[in-house]
């Protein structure tokens, strides 16, 4: 045992996340957490090995962290959230003596670079540009709509803006007209602007080890930022072979070897896949929890396993169930945003609580009844979890309660 632990080395979790710490703790593998200093006390109290670190931009001190971790016997770094992806890249490049690991990680941190790389690899993407100011966005909106032969007075086709280095839907805005552009805050520039892609949106959570797909989950978005469920409905799953192929292409284009990727696609009714974006971190929307509920394995542990080059084929085989077939049911989540400015009370209908698909919810009346203004897709206030064995019913429920006022 002593030997194997030494051989294995210590895994450093970059970022503070209790579910991840818990998952690692249950894996019987030595780990430490690199996180913001405010967690030091909590870590000490709970005997969690901890290295305090401020993850801001990579800088000349980055080497300091690598040295510190090496001294502690760290052999592997696993990123927990968007901001730590490039840190993990830098650290793993050093631990594994492969500088390109770092450069690859940067591709995933810059939405402009990411799109270019995908396009160069022949992956179908929308029209995009980088915007450094509002004029760029104005021009892009105009040019896209000219290209669509819209006349003055026609309703514009929308475009999307996303800050280059922010995670997921943070700062994601839909732009339809000039007025929307004025609302983009200065700090969101530079950003990526891209044309609107029609079609059903979905995401994949792909566990990759040694460049191979070990488990491919497809998460069906009922409504981006509001509701999704796992595994996808049989209708979407019929495209699994095409999706699988597209992801293999993505993996090879981005030279991804280990860990998790979380790409988003749009699929048109004829099966054409348009690539949205890809991240190498834990997805939002409670997707990991949904995977756990549907398949019964801990996705956080899966990420750690797949991040480690030393994990054996046997371990991987034993860990992952068979996609779709082995799912025990459909697990869905509905993210709830208050639609009132002042929350008076919580209104969870008995009908919902009595529905056999209702699993649980985590809504309380927040301590401050005033609702924060929503920026982009913003943060949800609570989540309702569903679980059941029919995807159509799941979709129906998610749609039904999407417009329900849980906070009144």
């Amino acid at each position: 045992m002593e030997d194997s632990i030494l051989n294995q080395g210590i895994t450093a979790l970059l970022g503070w996340s209790l579910p991840v710490i818990e998952a690692a703790d249950r894996m019987d593998r030595p780990f430490l957490v690199v996180g913001p200093p405010e967690f030091q006390e909590f870590a000490d109290r709970n005997e969690i090995a901890f290295v305090a670190w401020q993850f801001e931009r990579l800088n000349e001190q980055s080497g300091e962290l690598a040295e510190l971790l090496e001294q502690k016997g760290v052999k592997l770094a696993v990123p927990i959230y968007e901001e730590t992806v490039e840190w993990a890249g830098a650290l793993n490049a050093r631990f594994q003596k492969d500088p390109r690991i770092f450069n690859r990680s940067l591709l995933l941190r810059d939405k402009g670079l990411m799109k270019r790389r995908a396009q160069m690899a022949g992956i179908k993407v929308g029209v995009f540009e980088e915007a450094y100011n509002r004029d760029d966005v104005h021009r892009f909106l105009k040019r896209v709509n000219e290209a669509l032969i819209k006349l003055d007075g026609d309703i514009n086709d929308p475009v999307h803006v996303k800050p280059l280095s922010k995670a997921g839907t943070v700062g994601h805005r839909l732009i339809r007209e000039a007025g929307d552009i004025d609302l983009i805050p200065d700090e969101d520039f530079p950003c990526l602007i891209e044309s609107h892609l029609d079609g059903q949106e979905f995401s994949c959570e792909v566990f990759v080890h040694n460049g191979k797909i070990r488990f491919l989950n497809i998460t069906e978005y009922v409504h981006l930022g509001h509701s999704n469920f796992v595994p996808a409905s049989p209708e979407l799953e019929t495209w699994r072979p095409q999706i699988h192929a597209a992801i293999e292409k993505l993996i090879s284009a981005f030279e991804i070897k280990y860990g998790i990727i979380h790409p988003e696609y749009f699929i048109s009714p004829d099966g054409t896949l348009n690539f949205g974006e890809v991240a190498a971190r834990i997805p939002g929307g409670h997707i990991f929890d949904l995977i756990g509920k549907a398949y019964g394995f801990n996705a956080y542990q899966a990420q750690i396993l797949c991040s480690d080059p030393d994990t054996t084929e046997e371990e991987l085989k034993a860990f992952f169930p068979k996609e779709v077939e082995d799912a025990k049911g459909y697990a869905g989540s509905l993210m709830v945003y208050p639609r009132v400015r002042l929350i008076q009370r919580l209104n969870v209908p008995t009908e919902l609580k009595n529905d056999p698909y209702f699993d649980r919810h985590d809504m309380f009346i927040p301590a401050t009844s005033k609702v924060a203004e929503r920026v982009g897709f913003g943060n949800h206030y609570g989540t309702v979890f569903f679980y059941g064995d029919n995807s159509a019913r799941m979709k129906e429920l998610l749609l039904q309660y999407e417009d329900y006022d849980f906070y009144i």
Partner: protein
């Protein structure tokens, strides 16, 4: 919830608790949410709460309180419990679970290293004493405005605690509370009787002598108040005794009933049995049994037949409480008004509208075979005898309650007209600026629905009055002045003074000219400044209701009944508060008094300046006004300071 639903909720709670139990200490917070959610579901019923209690010994070890302010039971303060329970968020359920943990310690089911069973019991007793309102939910403005599921849950918790603990330690406080409420002589005494019934159990405990004798007095007043009623096991038995009793015994009984009723404002069912007996056999005993004064006796004699019939129709053991109002009505000499007599008689037999019929009769009435006319007549007697005992219950209808109270004092015929009209036609009409408004043609009032814990007259009238009042206010919406200026005289009656001032500018919502407002009130209402004009009719004024910290809770309608000096020579404002619980603490040391400062039955009072510091609107007679410049600046400044630091915090103050 059905039994199976409660069981399902318990098993889900159990699962969540177990998951939490199994989590490592650092991961507790991941699973606490689910435990709190399931606890909320379970605590939704009394049975569920009982089940939740059975798990309480495990809470600490499972980590329910890990990482939060409730973590260490030995550091908790009873004083914070009430506040936490009133929070809407997750903390109210954590607090509730913390009390259940304390109960488990008190019961010896859980041994805590820092809290002994005795200490836990002391803690809970103090919590109970500090929060009687949870045990006996009040019909106050605060309770009404801040209602919600979390508060119902807290009420449930206190019911459970009262069953689990001895009430000994809080007995004194409860008796004080009963004293305070009965002093105001409300018509609706259900809550007081409930408190007495709950507190009765404390008589078996070792409590101090004063508390015991007060409590015994209340228990007797609502049970067997006389020597012979005590000796008879039920009303039938007592009825038989009355037939055999001697003149002397009957007179003693009559006087004992009267004494108990007037000392508490509460009436026993035996009293009704006695009165009915006297009504049939020996009319002379009625005056003694009602404790009538000379006026009351005079009208009892002159209106002998009407009184006899009213008793025959309206007084039964179930409606015994109306006897207090009956005595009041006779003593007020109301039966001297010739027009009132046929109006009262009319109530015996009018056809009551089916919808009104439904709301008038409680299940208890139906079981006892009491008809709607009897209930309505009884209710009318109560209102006529206790004008300041009218309450709004849990409804936001202070204006309507105030109207009924005003009419009962100064326009009894008008009141009777409205009662008959509403009961028979389920409609009321009031003319506003030349146009007749019919309540039956209106949708929606101030209150979304009328809470039915009301006296019969209010049950019948308030739905109509509320709609009409609301409609009148709507019609004044665009006048750029507070609509009460026109609505109040039309709604309440022509004696409402035409001068009117509101310190808030309806256009900007800002407080304007506060000092002028104060000076005008002094110059029109304060005997030292208003050239000695007395207040003739009650003045309907608007006040800000604030909580114990002086924070604004909402607007409220009260009536100034009179202005007078108290026993120490201080000028006070005596007022009627339709919430029937006037002795609330309004913060900044402003605590309306209900006795001991010369208050009449049902009145509350405050020193003049303190009242003004909470007022925002009043009527005045512009022809009876002293000189505003005579009002000292210091007085205005003192009041303005109190206003600015309490309700005024949320307002813009225009210069």
């Amino acid at each position: 919830m059905t039994d199976t639903a409660v069981q399902a909720a318990e098993s889900k709670f159990e699962q969540a608790l177990q998951t939490l139990e199994q989590a490592k200490p650092f991961a507790k917070s991941l699973y606490q949410t689910e435990v709190f959610q399931r606890a909320i579901d379970l605590a939704h019923t009394d049975e569920g709460l009982d089940l939740l209690k059975t798990h309480a010994a495990r809470f600490d070890a499972a980590g329910v309180f890990s990482g939060g302010p409730w973590e260490d039971a030995s550091k908790l303060q009873p004083g914070f419990v009430g506040g936490s329970l009133k929070l809407k968020g997750v903390n109210s359920v954590v607090e509730l679970m913390s009390e259940l943990r304390m109960l488990a310690i008190a019961r010896g089911e859980y041994e805590h290293p820092g809290v002994t069973a005795d200490e836990a019991r002391t803690f809970l007793n103090e919590v109970m004493a500090l929060n009687l309102n949870f045990l006996f939910p009040a019909e106050t403005e605060e309770a009404r405005i801040e209602s919600g599921e979390h508060l119902e849950r807290a009420n449930r918790l206190f019911r459970l605690l009262s069953r689990e603990l001895s009430l000994k330690a809080i007995s004194r406080k409860i008796v004080e509370e009963i004293d305070r409420l009965t002093t105001q002589r409300p018509i609706m005494v259900g809550r007081i009787v409930n408190m007495i019934r709950t507190a009765e159990k404390m008589l078996e405990e070792d409590i101090d002598a004063d508390t015991r004798s007060s409590l015994e007095h209340y228990v007797k007043a609502t049970g067997t108040p006389t020597p012979f009623s005590e000796r008879h096991s039920d009303l039938r038995d007592y009825g038989r005794f009355l037939r055999e009793a001697s003149e002397e015994e009957l007179l003693q009984e009559a006087e004992a009933f009267a004494r108990m009723m007037h000392s508490t404002g509460l009436v026993s069912a035996y009293h009704a049995t006695f009165i009915r007996h006297a009504n049939r056999k020996n009319h002379d005993l009625i005056a003694a049994a009602l404790g009538l004064d000379d006026i009351g006796r005079a009208f009892l004699d002159t209106q002998h037949e009407l009184v006899r019939d009213m008793i025959q129709v309206a007084v039964t053991p179930e409606t015994c409480q109306i006897l207090y109002g009956f005595a009041g009505m006779l003593n007020r000499g109301l039966l001297s008004q010739d027009a009132l007599l046929p109006s009262l008689r009319r109530l015996f037999e009018i056809d009551i509208h089916p919808d009104v019929h439904k709301i008038l009769l409680s299940e208890e009435h139906k079981r006892s075979g009491i008809g709607p006319n009897a209930v309505l007549l009884g209710g009318t007697i109560s209102v006529l005898g206790q004008p300041l005992g009218v309450g709004q219950g849990l409804n936001p209808t202070c204006q309507s309650a105030r109207a009924i109270s005003l009419w009962s004092q100064h326009a009894q015929n008008q009141l009777l007209e409205y009662i008959v009209r509403a009961a028979r036609d389920n409609d009321i009409d009031i003319t506003f600026e030349g146009e007749v408004i019919f309540s039956s043609q209106l949708e929606g009032g101030v209150a979304e629905e009328i809470h039915q814990e009301l006296d019969p007259v209010s049950k019948v009238l308030v739905p109509h009055l509320d709609k009409i009042y609301n409609e009148m206010m709507k019609r004044t919406l665009l006048r750029l002045e507070d609509g009460h200026k026109w609505v109040n005289p039309a709604f309440y009656g022509e004696w409402i003074q035409r001068g009117f001032i509101n310190l808030v500018d309806p256009l900007t919502g800002a407080v304007v000219n506060f000092s002028a407002f104060v000076k005008l009130f002094y110059a029109t209402h304060h005997p030292d400044y208003n050239n000695g004009y007395e207040l003739i009719y009650p003045n309907p004024v608007g006040i800000y209701i604030t909580n114990v910290s002086g924070e604004l809770l909402g607007l409220h309608a009260v009536s100034i009944q009179r202005v007078a000096k108290d026993e120490s020579g201080e000028w006070r404002i005596y007022f009627y508060n339709p919430n029937n619980d006037s002795g609330q603490n309004w913060g900044q040391g402003i605590e309306p008094s209900v006795k001991g400062h010369g208050e009449f039955e049902g009145e509350a009072s405050l020193p003049f300046a303190q009242f003004v510091a909470r007022m925002y609107a009043f009527h005045y007679n512009p022809y009876e006004q002293g000189d505003t410049y005579m009002v000292e600046t210091e007085i205005v400044e003192e009041i303005e300071k109190m206003a600015r630091e309490s309700w005024g915090v949320g307002y813009t103050w225009a210069l």
